[in-house]
């Protein structure tokens, strides 16, 4: 737990080396898993991994004045100061990638590298982000086929079935996922979902090394978003993760962790 302006932020911190702040998405730590996943464990072998839980997620305090992604970013600006580290690497998946991008354009001097995995956050005309809030509710009150299809390349991948099993699980697990959906809906409920229309024109401000990774079969965020990020950041490295879906860090943990670790080695 870290105290930021009187509010508690839950943090998992492990590993040693250059600090890397990782912002989670849906199929992720603090959102569908209380603990770290193989992807994070892999990363922690080569860096000081700092994984905070977003507002209202896991044990992080809720706030009743959360209006937009900018409130989240403001809180993370203070969070970065509270950590007492001058510079750090940034990475994030899905909405975590969006938040990482927003933070990087505000702290371009302090962010040593930026890695985005299936990041939301952009408005790309003609390529809407799919409505995850619709499929967050199970079919017949039981089946999460549509949610898994959106988050993964296959409908019933092993990792997908573990993170989002059918039926009703333990209440703590249900609420963990619920908190993440609530957080995401608070910052991105407006169709076409999870975007900041102004962000694309601010990307050029961050001039450090950027990795933009996305799954080959992302059913939530169209490929055009990864391409728009890569273009907006000038000279970013675009990596399409073969065989993976939206949650490439879960579906191909070694490949994606290797890529992110490579960025940390570079910055």
């Amino acid at each position: 737990m870290i105290d930021v302006m009187g509010r508690k932020i839950a943090v998992i911190r492990t590993g040693s080396g250059a600090p890397l702040i990782y912002f989670h998405g849906f199929a992720d730590v603090h959102a569908a898993s209380a603990g770290l996943l193989p992807f994070h464990e892999h990363l922690a072998r080569s860096c000081d991994l700092i994984a905070p839980a977003h507002v209202g997620c896991a044990q992080t305090d809720e706030r009743d004045d959360l209006d937009s992604v900018h409130d989240v970013v403001e809180q993370y600006l203070d969070f970065a100061d509270a950590l007492g580290i001058e510079t750090f690497h940034l990475a994030g998946a899905c909405v975590g990638g969006w938040i990482a991008a927003e933070l990087a354009v505000r702290l371009p001097q302090r962010v040593r590298s930026l890695s985005l995995i299936g990041a939301t956050g952009l408005f790309v005309s003609g390529n809407p982000i799919a409505d995850i809030f619709w499929v967050a509710q199970p079919e017949d009150g039981i089946y999460y086929n549509d949610l898994r299809h959106m988050l993964f390349a296959a409908r019933d991948p092993k990792a997908g079935m573990q993170l989002f099993p059918d039926g009703r699980g333990e209440i703590e697990q249900e609420l963990l996922r619920y908190r993440m959906f609530r957080f995401a809906s608070q910052i991105g409920f407006t169709p076409p979902y999870l975007y900041d229309r102004k962000l694309i024109e601010q990307l050029h401000r961050y001039k450090g090394p950027v990795l933009v990774a996305c799954g080959e079969h992302d059913h939530m965020v169209p490929r055009a978003h990864a391409e728009a990020y890569a273009k907006g950041f000038r000279g970013a490295r675009l990596e399409i993760i073969r065989g993976a879906g939206h949650s490439a860090h879960v579906e191909a943990p070694d490949v994606v962790a290797g890529l992110v670790a490579g960025m940390v080695g570079k910055g």
Partner: protein, 131 residues
């Protein structure tokens, strides 16, 4: 619409991903329900709706009997009746209304007048001597 959303298990007002839904209210819902069970208004057939008293349908004699049961049970004196549902054709709704007005309503008016006179003596005076 509601039936369709319920069948596929989703609403736009309640559940994960709805920003106005607090964590606490969702926790209570989880603790007090079983996944997949029917919720208020759910039904698989007209018979089920009929048995649950959600609708009243049938011949004028049936409708009169069912409404009378409600009047006797609850002592109600006013009804708000919806004759038209969804994509029902206007001519069918009109036929229902006409049958109700000519073959159900006069009987109920007469019967309920007797019932209220017995159960609520003086009601007419209190209401200013209405019909």
């Amino acid at each position: 619409m509601k039936g369709h959303l319920r069948r596929i298990g989703r609403t736009q007002t309640f559940g994960p991903g709805i920003p106005s839904q607090s964590v606490k209210s969702w926790e209570q819902f989880l603790r007090n329900t079983k996944p997949g069970e029917d919720r208020l208004g759910d039904a698989k057939s007209w018979e089920e709706l009929d048995a649950g008293g959600s609708i009243i349908a049938g011949s004028p004699a049936t409708v009169r009997r069912r409404l009378w049961e409600l009047i006797e049970m609850a002592g109600v004196g006013n009804f708000l009746i919806q004759f038209h549902f969804g994509n029902m054709k206007a001519e069918h709704a009109r036929k229902s209304m006409r049958l109700f007005a000519t073959e159900v309503l006069p009987h109920l008016r007469k019967d309920s007048k007797e019932l209220f006179a017995r159960d609520y003596p003086g009601l007419d005076e209190n209401l200013g001597g209405g019909r």
